[in-house]
Point group: C2
């Protein structure tokens, strides 16, 4: 190819395009040659030359091709961008001296049409000139004030939250997780002592023992600490929540007087020794024994075999001196089930107490600042007074007395001491997720990659795929924030000794829901930050490693969710059972209402934005889902048992259904609490932005379950598709506020050190 | 309550049940009292006594309640288990001396019916006697031979796989990740040297340079090494695959002669310096420059600003001496795009070469045995010969020559050197997932928790929820195994210089699909092992930490998937463009066929097992899905551009759709390769078990996308539900083989040290 330099300018785009991918396919060649006749009429030997320029066996050289590119770019500099939307338009613009006959224009248009969209993108690449500098992100005009929104989020606990924010800006509260494990553990213990010295350990204990009698403040502190080091959080929870909490809630006055103040100051480091290697979830069947011996009025704690060793016990490997040990109480030849006993596990010099064997659990995925250990007891005798005897006493003669007759009921009452811990873990997990999201959203708000040639590269949070990854978890985090704070306050406000079962069921459901949200969100945040998310300095790695076990401890999530579902089934049965005839008729009518709703063409078909964003529409759908799932679960169970299945086997067979039900329950509760909370917000602009976030949360849940709604006939296909589109729209709407929405969490800068999040 | 000891035996179950949860609700009390009349007829003062025993204000004492329990258990010991399925039956059995009048029996039956299923579970708890020992898992009768199945999985590469298995049983190949980072890096380097000494570094290089010219063996080795330490895998890949591969594929004979043998022996540790801090995914726009200076025939490598530093470069922080550096080539005032240059980065004594600045990337979430670093170049001059000039040359006078005219095409040709790396990463990720699954499945096969009282606690893999977590990933792992081995062999068999675009597109899709599978599977495996999965000794923690970046490196998964989707759109357009009139009509007819299929009531509605398990049904659905998604994506793009959107913006708006399309493509390809491979298996029992696994993989994919199929009207609701049920059934069918199916992978025991997996 020699005569290339005298290509008529209007043909340059064609040649550029033809060779852009370096290959002229037979079809492309045929297309061009087919159109030659038209060109021939206008310019006699152009067809011949064009054939020469488009000969696959004789491609242009790299330098020749580059010359075309440069000529095109030079010529195109004079052309307003708006006119160069297509090959033909570009050719026409280049034909300044009228050298583009109509026939040529038509031929070009034909070719372009045949080449399709690619051509336009290639032209964009050619004609754009990207500015070399990357401008800072726009400061969006926010329709709300971050401070006002923060005030809503902080609610009535602003004081303690602000105090923790100040404390977390102190480097002394941030131990270094890269220290060798023994040193890291000491550093974490030291931070817990500093917290105790601030009076933050005893918050939930009575004033007489150095506390404030404020369980809500304790849970809030635990949650706020999760913006910092998570080993500190867990150690804090083990010492002040589980160990101290067991003294407070399972013990009686003499235990409080002897131990509670020392627990709250960390003068007495303690353990909560419930889990065994062989029994982690099924703690009702744990196998450590505590046999009463009236001859010397002692209990004899014993580990009958290796799988009955206490396992995963926080504070056990290094620091704990006294342990609340859960064991099967035996007296007068009878086993009365699991009770809690205080057992010294270390002597004053730190050695294991006689008869106690201690082993370190070893390195873990994360939380290595917590000294988890294993405990064996070899016929260890403790005084009778060491039984934590709020719910059961053994008299000196060995006779047993309890205000709760049933062993099962007694056990579950004792277990309800874990409710506060579950709420705490859920909130700590949520805050870890918020921190990860904050890092990822700040990074996505500044990081640029790819883009059209005529603009700066695009901020990655402007990509729909990126919005889809990060903004629904942002909405879920807001929703969970409201639901968990509400749960905390209901828990804190309960009367002493009041029935906790309602709160306990919600705590179980939200613990599982929130910690799965944590795992999912942090994984998403890591991936959304690319390689930067993998660097230790950007903090997501540590957050992921530390929180990974949140889905397991304080109740395995799957086990908790199955309990939640069983509870819902029992409620359903009770509801049915407690009804008189009139109530029964109302109940049946109510069920029919859900069936009528299925038939309501407006709900099934409406696709307009206003309808899709309605809190009532979303809430009704989530309520219908939970209700229908509990009904069908009950039917399936009954069907199996009617056919002779044992209850246990029937439950196993419908487990997947029960898990779905428990999730539906959690989502309905979270959604309703979010809606309730929004209604109480006084600042109109905060209320408005929260409402938009609620729209995204609700619709994203409906989108996630659209298969189920379609199967039920509750949605028709156009509505299902419209929901997907609306979720996209909402993501786009929220995107300019994303950074401000994370700012409203006010994560203290001393805890948010990731370079990519500055 | 004083007269409790003379409770008639048949009433014991009622009292036990009434107080089992420690609370007698008003409804329960009312129920019992309502039935008193019936009892009164039979036993005059029984009603009064029953009312006393069921007075919520005077519950039985714990010892009293326990006496009832013991009396019941003693009495029930004589009753055959089968007859005690209900409260009434138990009461009748207890009425040995005829003291249960019909009226009483009816009253009991009423009460039981009202109390619902709970009562039966409570009775089960009461009457069962769990054996204390936990029996070993049953050794199932396998319908296949593990060795035969292993032979199918190993295929034609059994020899090298067995060699690696033997090597991986040598502790010398397992560095200790808990070493301090500098020592760990040296240990990893040492292992790589041992592999090189075995001739495993140079496998893909020509025989003249110490190799075997066998890229398939190289990729297989890389994949097998992933059963061991993953830092070794990555370091091995950087040195022999990326660095050596760039020499081999982008260089010419003089580069091969000078460097290739030394690369293969690790005598010359090298780097592959492509990514920059500011450009990780969009490497076409990377900003390091290489300007040619004809005065001394050198290229001047330069880092113009900090975000153009090379980042994440493996081997850079500690060991690399020579780097393949990608930079924008400038000569004669023209920029010809990205080219590769050999740049010495360290002197013989290990110090940075003049003008080169090196920084350590620092600690990472995992892979800390790999010395990732950053590189800056300050006007570093290298000889003209250091351009890797297979695809472009600069002559001494500065003139540029390339067989590929278009810069874009040239760039993508160079990038295709990454294809082997992507296949390797996908396979390594898959093997890491297999290892995690093997640990979790072995644990689930022995770990027991909860259960009916009359049997041992249940092995957790017998729970449906647990099967649902682990068995679909098992099926996906089998499917991916087949698809990735097929891809490897097609890649290895390609003629030198052949167009790779087909293989490249599949490699991109499967790299993303496989590594997301890895992340998901390892997370699931961790959670499925509970706290045990969190312990370092059980290996899942390290697997998770090390593989987490697999979704990011060698091409960010989301970016790769969007490329795959764009490629599918181009193919679609080309298909359309290349058609003549007859072809066009056939094409349109073909599209109509998919619409007719939508209408086919058999496909839409059939719910029988045989139909649901058909490979054709599953494959047709996956093919329809991919085809329909590519059509609708094209329509959406066209619609937006017709309305004036710039191509870039139009693509951003449909990104979520494109991601869905790319996933659909990956799943269709994996499914088809699995089906193809099964058809070639000679051993009938292996073929049969693989076919069952294929059923699960296919149906599980259809289940995952059932919302889409319902929206399209391709399924009706009953079919969608039937698929879910069939997935459950398949999980149950495969469950007894689960351990054997992981055994067939033959992960070497030297690499599978987790105590819970023994």
């Amino acid at each position: 190819m020699s005569s290339a330099s005298n290509v008529p300018r209007p043909l340059l785009p064609l040649l550029y395009l033809a060779w852009a991918d370096g290959i002229l396919t037979p079809a492309e060649q045929r297309l061009i040659h087919d159109r030659c006749a038209a060109l021939d009429d206008a310019a006699p030997d152009l067809c011949k030359r064009l054939k020469a320029w488009t000969d696959p066996s004789d491609p242009p050289s790299a330098t020749q091709y580059f010359r075309w590119v440069r000529a095109l770019q030079t010529a195109a500099d004079d052309i307003p961008q708006a006119t160069a939307r297509s090959l033909t338009e570009l050719a026409q613009a280049l034909a300044t001296n009228g050298d583009l006959p109509d026939a040529t224009a038509r031929a070009l248009a034909d070719i372009e049409a045949a080449l399709g969209v690619d051509s336009r993108e290639v032209l964009g690449d050619l004609l754009g000139h990207r500015s070399a500098d990357t401008p800072p992100p726009d400061a969006p005009d926010l329709p709300f004030a971050v401070e006002q929104l923060q005030a809503v989020l902080d609610g009535d606990r602003a004081e303690i939250k602000d105090r923790l924010r100040t404390l977390l800006n102190d480097p002394a509260l941030h131990p270094d997780p890269s220290l060798p494990t023994p040193a890291y553990r000491e550093a974490v213990l030291d931070v817990c002592k500093r917290l105790a010295a601030q009076g933050l350990g005893a918050l939930s204990y009575p004033k007489a023992y150095g506390g404030r009698g404020d369980i809500g403040a304790f849970i809030t502190t635990f949650a706020m600490l999760a913006y910092g080091d998570l080993s500190v959080v867990v150690k804090y929870g083990v010492q002040f929540g589980l160990f101290g909490g067991s003294l407070q809630q399972l013990g009686t006055q003499r235990h409080h007087e002897t131990y509670l103040e020392r627990a709250g100051t960390l003068d007495l480091p303690g353990c909560f020794a419930m889990s065994e290697t062989g029994h982690g979830s099924n703690v009702r069947d744990l196998q450590t024994t505590a046999r009463y011996d009236p001859s010397d009025e002692t209990f004899i704690l014993h580990t009958p075999h290796d799988s009955a060793r206490k396992d995963w016990i926080g504070n056990a490997a290094a620091h704990g001196q006294l342990a609340t040990v859960f064991a099967q109480l035996e007296t007068e030849g009878t086993t009365y089930g699991v009770h809690a006993f205080l057992v010294p596990i270390r002597t004053a010099d730190g050695a294991p107490a006689p008869g106690v064997r201690i082993e370190d659990c070893g390195e873990k995925m994360g939380l290595n600042g917590v000294d988890n250990g294993r405990l064996w007891f070899d016929q260890v005798r403790i005084p009778r007074a060491n039984l934590l005897d709020r719910y059961a006493t053994v008299h000196p003669d060995g006779s047993y007395e309890s205000p709760i007759p049933s062993a099962g009921r007694r056990f579950f009452t004792m277990l309800s001491t874990l409710v506060g811990g579950r709420i705490s873990v859920a909130r700590a997990g949520l805050n870890a997720a918020k921190k990860g999201l904050t890092i990822a959203i700040r990074y996505g708000n500044t990081r640029r990659q790819f883009g059209p040639k005529d603009r700066s590269e695009v901020r990655i949070l402007d990509y729909r795929t990126h919005q889809r990854r990060l903004l629904p978890p942002l909405a879920t985090s807001y929703a969970l924030h409201m639901a968990l704070e509400d749960l905390t306050e209901r828990f804190a406000a309960r009367a002493a000794g009041a029935n906790l079962s309602d709160i306990e069921a919600t705590a179980n459901a939200l613990k599982a829901y929130a910690t799965w949200h944590t795992t999912h969100t942090l994984q998403t945040a890591r991936e959304a930050c690319g390689g930067q998310g993998y660097l230790a300095e950007n903090q997501i790695a540590q957050l992921k490693a530390d929180t990974d076990v949140f889905t397991t401890f304080e109740g395995d999530n799957t086990v908790l969710m199955l309990q939640v579902a069983k509870g819902l089934l029992s409620d359903f049965q009770r509801e049915f059972r407690d009804l008189n005839v009139l109530g029964m008729m109302r109940f049946v009518a109510g069920e029919v209402t859900t069936r009528v709703t299925e038939m309501n063409p407006i709900v099934k078909r409406a696709t307009d934005t206003e309808h899709l964003r309605e809190a009532d529409m979303q809430g009704d759908a989530l309520r219908f889902r939970e209700r229908a799932l509990v009904q069908s679960a009950a039917q399936r169970l009954k069907h199996r048992m009617d056919n002779g299945a044992a209850p246990f086997d029937a439950f196993v067979e419908v487990q997947d259904h029960l898990l779905t039900l428990a999730h539906a329950h959690a989502e309905r509760v979270v959604f309703e609490r979010f809606v309730d909370r929004i209604a109480t917000v006084e600042d109109a602009s905060s209320r408005s932005v929260l409402n938009t976030i609620r729209c995204l949360y609700g619709l994203h849940r409906l989108e996630a379950h659209r298969a189920w709604f379609l199967e039920k006939g509750y949605f028709e296909a156009p509505k299902s598709k419209a929901i997907r589109t609306e979720v996209n729209t909402l993501c786009g709407e929220i995107r300019p506020w994303a950074r401000a929405l994370t700012d409203a969490w006010q994560i203290p800068s001393g805890a948010l050190q990731a370079p990519i999040a500055q």
